[in-house]
């Protein structure tokens, strides 16, 4: 035994010595090799990715598992639909498009002279192939409609639909990546590949990949010239675990482009003159109420008067200050954005929700509906106290704060609120299956800023289901209203502006009265930029693309080809 132990000790000493040697070795190594390649310009992007990157550049993947630059930076669609401002789509691989009058045939002119990043020519056939690939594959086609694309001239694609399909336009033109036929025709199941060596038409191509960071470089074959061509040589993607690390990275000048909510943003900006930011509020934070008794909702919130009272009892100025650090924007009771959708909000009184609480109005609404104050200071009806429970994801600190503040604000109006903090998966299951009274969530814009997408996803009867069954889309409020359904159908089948405007009016009049979602504010969407290595980033007033560097945002490609290196 003794001998063995001595040998062991000797062995350990040898290992320690060699480790020490290795240590000295690397110190000298890293000192000798710290110089960077001269002349290469580079920006670093933090996309919100946590932990290791998993190599996936499959642009057709629907699960959101592809890495951020896949759609928009490496692959391009036909047109870019900018959700940050009203306006026409930006031509990318398409140059123009037109519909026939009944909305069953979409004709697209395809840009000529485009090359894939491997140098071979991108053709109209690739466009036809890409569009049909999605249409024919049930695992890829999220639209529920099958279309047929065919080439009718060297530069023309005609897409045929079985029914009137005006509303599929942004999905097909703005949300389908064009992929090279020569590569994808050999892939038997396009949903099950990670596409490690992406070949696209976008402004950047993949240079090198490691799970901690990867680098894109300028696509030398990019079709754009001048302002439309990428000017920064390389883009590096990094991952950070949390907002603290993101703040550190931003302040230390180690990221150039990121989209994180930083409560102390204003003080960071005033300390560092080379930083700038933009805010593009898109998602309307609202109290989702399970509103429909016919589909199985229970609780006091099924009474529209109660929902109206909640709407009026909120002090939204306080909520904005304390939960959103003053970065949120006023919501509209039409549930649309009063910035991008201003012309589609049909009544001036729907433009902006009240910013201060109107307790007397809330109380009178309840009293007119037969509620009476009890001795505890809460309203009651038929012996039932006005006692509501709101579900909120614990750890979504801004929403948790809102709920706490609402507790106090509602109490002043005689409404009792209980806050139920839950894990995200339990919360999302409760909401999807309708087993909730109220839920803190946000109403998100669809594929473009066209109100149809929002209204059809959140208000249509076809987007909901009985309590107990998961809602097929996001109408978790179980809202169902024949007039609204008819108007949504009208929106889907017309391209005529006055008919659309009339439909918007019907929908907005109904939901302002029914209030299935009680709007709070439009959540901030902050993107931060460092101007010391590159300039030309979006600004608050010039959001030439939706700037948040999240997965699935095609606008990042536009931003990255617009910025220019600082000389």
């Amino acid at each position: 035994m003794t001998i063995t132990r001595k040998r062991l000790l000797f062995g350990a000493a040898a290992v320690a010595a060699s480790a020490a040697l290795a240590l000295t070795g690397c110190t000298s190594g890293s000192n000798g090799n710290s110089s960077k390649a001269g002349g290469t310009t580079s920006v670093t992007l933090f996309s919100g990715q946590v932990g290791n990157f998993t190599e996936n550049f499959n642009p057709l993947n629907n699960t959101g598992a592809y890495l951020q630059p896949t759609n928009g930076v490496i692959y391009e669609p036909l047109f870019y639909y900018n959700k940050a401002k009203a306006g026409k789509p930006v031509p990318l691989l398409g140059t123009s498009y037109s519909w026939n009058t009944d909305g069953t045939e979409l004709t697209v002119k395809v840009r000529q002279g485009v090359k894939w990043s491997d140098g071979s020519a991108e053709t109209t056939d690739d466009v036809v192939y890409s569009l049909n690939l999605v249409s024919n594959n049930p695992g890829l086609n999220t639209s529920g409609t099958e279309w047929v694309a065919k080439k009718t001239a060297a530069d023309t694609v005609v897409i045929d639909f079985p029914t009137t399909s005006f509303t599929l336009e942004p999905q097909i033109l703005g949300n389908e990546p064009i992929v090279p036929q020569k590569i994808w025709k050999n892939i038997s199941d396009p949903t099950k590949v990670t596409n490690d060596k992406p070949v696209g038409t976008g402004p950047y191509e993949l240079k090198s990949f490691t799970p901690q960071s990867f680098v894109l470089e300028k696509n030398p074959h990019y079709w754009g010239t001048g302002d439309n061509a990428p000017k920064v040589d390389q883009v590096r993607y990094v991952s950070l675990a949390n907002a603290d690390a993101a703040t550190s990275a931003l302040e230390a000048g180690q990221t150039d482009y990121m989209g994180a909510f930083l409560p102390t943003l204003k003080s960071i900006m005033s300390k560092h003159k080379n930083l700038s930011y933009s805010n593009s509020p898109q998602a309307t934070t609202a109290l989702f109420t399970c509103a429909n008794v016919d589909l199985g909702c229970t609780g006091p919130q099924t009474d529209p008067a109660v929902r109206q009272a909640l709407y009026n009892a909120m002090d939204r100025t306080q909520l904005d200050k304390q939960a959103a650090a003053g970065f949120s924007a006023p919501a509209s009771s039409s549930l649309l954005l009063n910035t991008v959708n201003k012309s589609q909000i049909t009544d001036p009184s729907y433009l902006e929700v009240p910013q201060t609480a109107n307790v007397s109005k809330a109380k009178s609404t309840l009293e007119a509906d037969g509620w009476k104050l009890n001795s505890d200071g809460y309203y009651a009806k038929d012996g039932q106290e006005l006692d509501l429970t709101v579900n909120v994801v614990s750890g979504w600190t801004d929403y948790d704060t809102i709920c706490q503040l609402l507790q106090g604000q509602f109490k002043a109006a005689g409404i009792k609120l209980a806050v139920n903090q839950m894990a995200q998966n339990a919360w999302s299951q409760a909401e999807s299956t309708g087993k909730f009274e109220m839920s803190m969530n946000s109403i998100n814009m669809g594929v473009s800023s066209d109100p149809y997408y929002q209204y059809s996803a959140y208000l249509a009867s076809s987007a909901t289901a009985k309590v107990g069954t998961p809602a097929p889309s996001t109408n978790t409020s179980r809202y169902s209203n024949a007039a609204v359904d008819a108007a949504i159908k009208q929106l889907a089948t017309t391209n005529d502006d006055s008919a659309k405007q009339a439909a918007y009016k019907t929908i907005q009049d109904q939901i302002v009265k029914d209030m299935p979602y009680v709007p709070i504010y439009v959540n901030s969407a902050l993107a931060e930029y460092n101007n010391s290595r590159a300039t030309g980033w979006p600004t608050q007033d010039n959001q030439y693309a939706f700037p948040l560097p999240w997965g699935g945002n095609w606008g990042v490609g536009i931003v990255l080809k617009t910025i220019r290196p600082v000389k």
């Binding site: 000298s28 890293s30 629907n62 409609t145």
Partner: protein, 329 residues
């Protein structure tokens, strides 16, 4: 021989139980991945229609069959080393995803645990040997660091050493801008530099326990008769200290060490969060919050296997170090 056979049978049963629980627990959690994915897509502004749910269900190829059938398929796949496909990283294999994260965690937390153990045992031994010396004063200091919540200690160190003084990097596993992973001095040097601060926080927050335990065992052992005998024989004090006192005093700490080695794989979620370190804790967190059953199972499996393996190794070693545990009563 019988001793080892008993151990092996015990570990086989424990392994089966771990594997089965590992299958059941994720399925008892609420929620399903399609709902979560739809919520995420909505938040990213993707269009959600009735077709979306259908497409996702087709793409992810739902969990078919009854629970028993799923269990059968799970065991068969497990025997083939197939842990399935990670839904959050669809369609990447779970083994690939775990393989990317595991080395970082093992290197960081493993090294830190070993350093902490050796340091704590060494200091505890000396403190017990020279009772009442200045070394005893280290004990309250180190136990105080252990009593401070770990995340708080780590955040303070991050603030002071990376933000105020800029001595260390604040995030990451190595310098991604200047080095490429591989067996180069440059990369290893960078990884050591980036791992130093997280490792230090683990060491200073755990060394106190080892030190306290070892010191007290040392004191108890020193009052044993065989120590007096050894001293009476005129042995050198260093020999009495190492081979007579320390060797016996270290036994209880050793089993604690085995347990903590097993938890190296699991016990790093907070460290990895605070230091943005690319490891398995982060992965587990992502898997749980996205209802990624396959990934969760994979991570839990790796954790339970490592705990079992560490226990097995120490059980066997214990038989060598302490012959009493082998003897039949």
């Amino acid at each position: 021989m019988r001793f080892y056979l008993q151990k092996i049978v015990f570990y086989v049963v424990a392994l089966w139980a771990a594997v089965t629980l590992n299958f059941l627990i994720p399925r008892l959690m609420p929620g399903n991945p399609v709902d979560i994915m739809i919520a995420k897509m909505g938040a990213a502004g993707q269009p959600i229609t009735a077709g979306t749910r259908h497409a996702l269900e087709v793409e992810l190829g739902g969990s078919g069959g009854s629970l028993i059938q799923q269990y059968g398929a799970y065991i068969v796949n497990l025997l083939h080393g197939n842990l399935g496909i990670s839904l959050t990283n669809f369609p990447e294999k779970v083994t690939t995803v775990i393989g990317q994260a595991l080395p970082w965690t093992i290197a960081l937390v493993g090294m830190a645990t070993i350093i902490s153990f050796i340091l704590g045992i060494g200091l505890g031994m000396l403190a017990g040997w020279k009772r009442g010396s200045w070394l005893d004063n280290l004990i309250p200091v180190t136990t105080m660091f252990q009593a401070v919540p770990y995340f708080w200690l780590a955040l303070i160190l991050v603030l002071v050493l990376t933000r105020v003084l800029s001595l260390f990097p604040y995030a990451g596993g190595y310098n991604v801008a200047t080095t490429v992973p591989g067996l180069s001095f440059q990369f290893i040097g960078s990884a050591l530099y980036y791992g130093f601060l997280p490792a230090v926080t683990i060491v200073i927050s755990s060394v106190g326990g080892w030190m306290l335990g070892m010191r007290n065992m040392m004191v108890a052992t020193l009052s044993e008769d065989y120590i007096v005998t050894a001293e009476a024989k005129g042995l050198k004090p260093s020999r009495v200290r190492m081979t007579y006192a320390a060797r016996n005093a270290v036994l209880p700490s050793l089993s604690g060490f085995a347990i903590s080695l097993g938890f190296v794989v699991a016990g790093s979620i907070v460290t990895e969060q605070v230091f943005s370190y690319p490891g398995i804790g982060q992965l587990l967190f992502t898997a749980v919050s996205n209802d990624d059953y396959a990934l969760m199972q994979g991570v839990f499996l790796v954790i339970s296997l490592s705990v079992l393996a560490a226990n097995l190794v120490v059980d066997v070693l214990y038989g060598l170090i302490d012959p009493r545990t082998r003897a039949r009563s």
